[in-house]
Symmetry: C2
Subunit: 328 residues, 2 copies
Amino acid sequence: MKAMTIPQTGEPSVLTLADVEQPTPGDHDLLIEVHAAALNPVDTKLRSGKFRAPVTFPLIPGFDVSGRVVAIGNQVTRFRPGDAVFASPSLFKPGAHAEYVLVHEDIAARKPESLSHIEAAAVPLALLTAWELLYDMADIQGGQTVLIHAAAGGVGHLAVQLAQARGGIVIGTASSEDSLALLEELRIDHATNYKTEDVHDRIMSITDGRGCDAVFDLVGAEVFKSSIPLVATRGHLGTIVGIPADADLNPLFLKSASLHAEFMGATAMAGRIPTHQGGILKQAAAMIEAGTLKPHVSKIFPLEDLAAAHELQATGTATGKLVVQIRE
Amino acid sequence: MKAMTIPQTGEPSVLTLADVEQPTPGDHDLLIEVHAAALNPVDTKLRSGKFRAPVTFPLIPGFDVSGRVVAIGNQVTRFRPGDAVFASPSLFKPGAHAEYVLVHEDIAARKPESLSHIEAAAVPLALLTAWELLYDMADIQGGQTVLIHAAAGGVGHLAVQLAQARGGIVIGTASSEDSLALLEELRIDHATNYKTEDVHDRIMSITDGRGCDAVFDLVGAEVFKSSIPLVATRGHLGTIVGIPADADLNPLFLKSASLHAEFMGATAMAGRIPTHQGGILKQAAAMIEAGTLKPHVSKIFPLEDLAAAHELQATGTATGKLVVQIRE
């Protein structure tokens, strides 16, 4: 089968289209004919050597898939050949920037019928990240003030909608015209342009000086550090990037706050199947069908142009998701 | 009225018994005739100058009270004179190492009838700390493995019982004979003597190498740092002391873990009444009456001997709680 491979770390030009053996499903695997596969920051981190978990090269990237089941393992009970499914394949196995990919049945869910494969591929990894952080870890509640940094990004625009679904008062940061337009389309309560406004002052004005019940840093480093004073007493600070070594966390103690460091690949990294993730995707699919959750795809690339997609993804400026179309 | 005062920071000898004006209740205050008032680490921190929130001297310490309501403010609706109550008075107002103390009605609860004032005074501050950390922040669940460092201490022995009430598999560290005996009396699942055993090896043996779903550091510094590798994937690390500046928190990210920094005085520090705390004490009182929660008092001091109580509290070796008896 055709697959895009990363032979070793380097610039986007290292990405190499190759002919590799089509995989054979293990007992609980689905063999999925890939229709579309989104791009995530983890793709560019793997390619550039910035991914912090151990991996071996060459590897096939691509950790979102929407497609059709074409074969199943002996023990599979939840899906049949022909089913349209979406999933986030394991970060530690061959990915979906290929004609076929294997996915354990417990991490897959039926593709929402109202979405195309292109749209469905935009959901899994980003949605799982947002869901685990906002729902499983911070457990945000109705009426809480929720600040989302990079609110129009791949994880951000789904996090905004999850916060809205819980009844949160949602504040998002963004800077580009496209991103601010997406936040308006999502009817976010407050959008702040971090390039032209003082985010701290804006937050204190919105929250009467209390700060936000939950602050989600989807950017890292300086944004993480500047988020600490924005957290309310007994609030939550979340990151999907990591905790800067030079961040002074003691203000969180005097606020009796919680810090959540979300990594959707943690269970797989520990050698286990993140079986809860199939259930999350099933719930997300129900929200999508009900019209309360909608992914935003800003650009579609053919597999051959994956390097260009990596270039754009690495700028961190794309609105919503970039998706690779593998077949019609 | 008689009150023990801290005129300025210093050794236990600075504690001065003084005659001070009896306070008058504000609109929502209860004037409580203090029968007993426990000691907490915050007392010795305030006295030694190690408390990190801003306070002004002289002050009256003592942030646990069990006693009888003798007068109420105009707007008080939940209590009447004569009621036996227990509470944790605000850290930022005159405390309970005195004949009388004021407490906002929303942070008080009826004293459990099955407890003496001495026993009831051992509960509030430590229980609120354990409850907010284990229930409100980490939200521990049945079947989870829960490690509690200093499990026989003031907060620890209540945390053990809260974890047990949720159905947790509870592991506690301790070292003294008295402390290990208390853990046995509490029927803890596993007790480990950190002076004679390798805690890391013991935890990995108990958890099949996965680590604990929740690790509560009630000690700080090196215990906090050594706790990080003991946290399971998607687990919780809690502290009631603070986050050491030199702790490497990045392993928490690769585990997708949460860090909870509990400070029961945070709401008061932000200038508001921690109204939820009265409700917590009410629930704790119900558990006490039902026999699922029981405070352990290891030593009782008269108010005049508060300096001796500070000396013992500061060693960090006392089992359960030290309580000051103000009147019979």
